[in-house]
Amino acid sequence: MKVSPSSLVLKYFFVLFASAIVLYPLIWMVTMAFKPYPEWTTVAGLTWLPKNPTWQNFEFIFFGEAKGLVVSLDRTITGPFIASLVTSICGTIIAVVAGTLSSYACVRFGLAKTLPLSVLQLRLFPPLAVMIPVMVMWAFLGAVDTWWGLSLIYGIVTLPFAFWLMKTFFDEVPIEIEDAARVAGCSYWRVFYRITLPIVKPGLATCALFVFILNWSDYLLALLLTQKDWVTLPVYMATLTSAMGGQMYGMKAALGVIAAIPPVVFGLMIQKHLVRGLTFGALKQ
């Protein structure tokens, strides 16, 4: 169908305008990460691209000090980065394994018919409204500020997403394929292991990335359940201040960039399935 040139121009105008708004804060943060101290504010004039681009900010957060800076950092990014990575990955494993197994049982054997909705309800409530007993329990179990304590809560909180996402992928596997394998002599376990699981492998990868993004993006749970050793990147970023009380814009921006990269990359990789993940499978693209 022919699109008239004038409407196309109008469309590009709006699209470019929207893109500009989307990119505006992003560009400010990214360039900030490469700006030296004098350019952090607009006092000396607004600079979009750094006039004197520098790795200083990154150097500082990785090594605790950087050339030309008088301040130093008693705690570098290394610890929080590893904490984020470990807890996000472990949480993802818990959520994906439990979610995959249980959603398969729901889809194929019609077990626990109320499970899907009760799992969904878990996601409904503001976490802060239900965190008191969790904090008490975690303290009781000695799970506060441990990698496994945080991983466990991540796994539980993202389980609904994993469950629903995997459910939609299992729903798409025709039962005849499993029947065919059973006719060929497979037990239920072998059907699952040899046939269904390999078929949903792309879905499994999508699910894992999706859940990882959610875990990686958490701020609140880590804030509540960690103190020092297992503080994650967002918490670390938020608390980063210099010993001298100055606002460390450049370093925070550098941290923000590092924290933002993995979810954006993974998110763009699973673009196609974002809708079904975020709407618990109610919608597909």
Partner: protein, 311 residues
Amino acid sequence: MTDITKEPENSTNKQGYWASVARDGKKMGFWFILPTIILLLFIVIFPLFMQLYLSVTWWTPLEGIPWYRAWEVFSWGDNYVYQFTDERVWGALWRTILIMVVAVPAQFFLGMSLAYLFMDNFPGRKIFYSIMLTPMMIVPAVVGLMFYLLFQGTGPINVHLGLPTTFSWLTDVNRAMISVIIADVWQWTPLMFLILLAGMLGVPSDQLMAAKLLGGSNWQNFLKIILPRMKAVIIIALVLRAVECFKIFDLVYIMTKGGPGVQTETISVFLYKMTFGEFEWSYVAALGLTILFVLSILAAKGLAYIAKKDG
């Protein structure tokens, strides 16, 4: 004839319990579902009772009484009564609702307009689509940081708007809330866009073409064909976002810490402050249960809708 005894994987423990599980769908389903059930019990059923228990006491972690002995400071329903007269609760609730009624419709209209722009193919659509989705993939705490940087007196926004560096956003009584809402709209419009676009593309293209061939203008077709067909999707999108409003925390806390004063103190921020600032844990437990109760009722309809759609 196929013989199970020849099945290589099972030949060693053919008589064992696990072999019988593998051949019995119901049994295997039970084992498959067990981890989830345990996790759910662990995080839902047990804590729920504990929360109920704590909410009727004066218990706080500061006094050194273990939680199981909280009955020693039994308070009956005082926490529940108090919350209804607590002005900070009403204030936080009001601000949360304010964010909801401003930010969610704004996200909806912006998302709908963007979705309409992206409905047909145009050169570069894929790239722009990816750009549009980026905000919602960024860690909310980082978004908070980004807008924290933008809204500094010495930040670029004031320069672009021609305002002096003394013009403050985040520390101003009125403008702090506006800043927070802008950040929230920036981050979550893409989600609206994504969901609404999926719904829009779900309108059968031949029906749209049929409407065009019958002479309907684009606007007429949008109103009479596309919009009515998107009803379910619109409900899903609005319910999802409205519920999320009660969860807003990262953004606000990093941008303003709920301030100045309590000007941006939403329900979640209030709960956090009560938890870690004041250590009023039993009060938080009571308030949390109340919120749980109210939200369940409010969202029940929306959820039922989603569930029905899902079969």
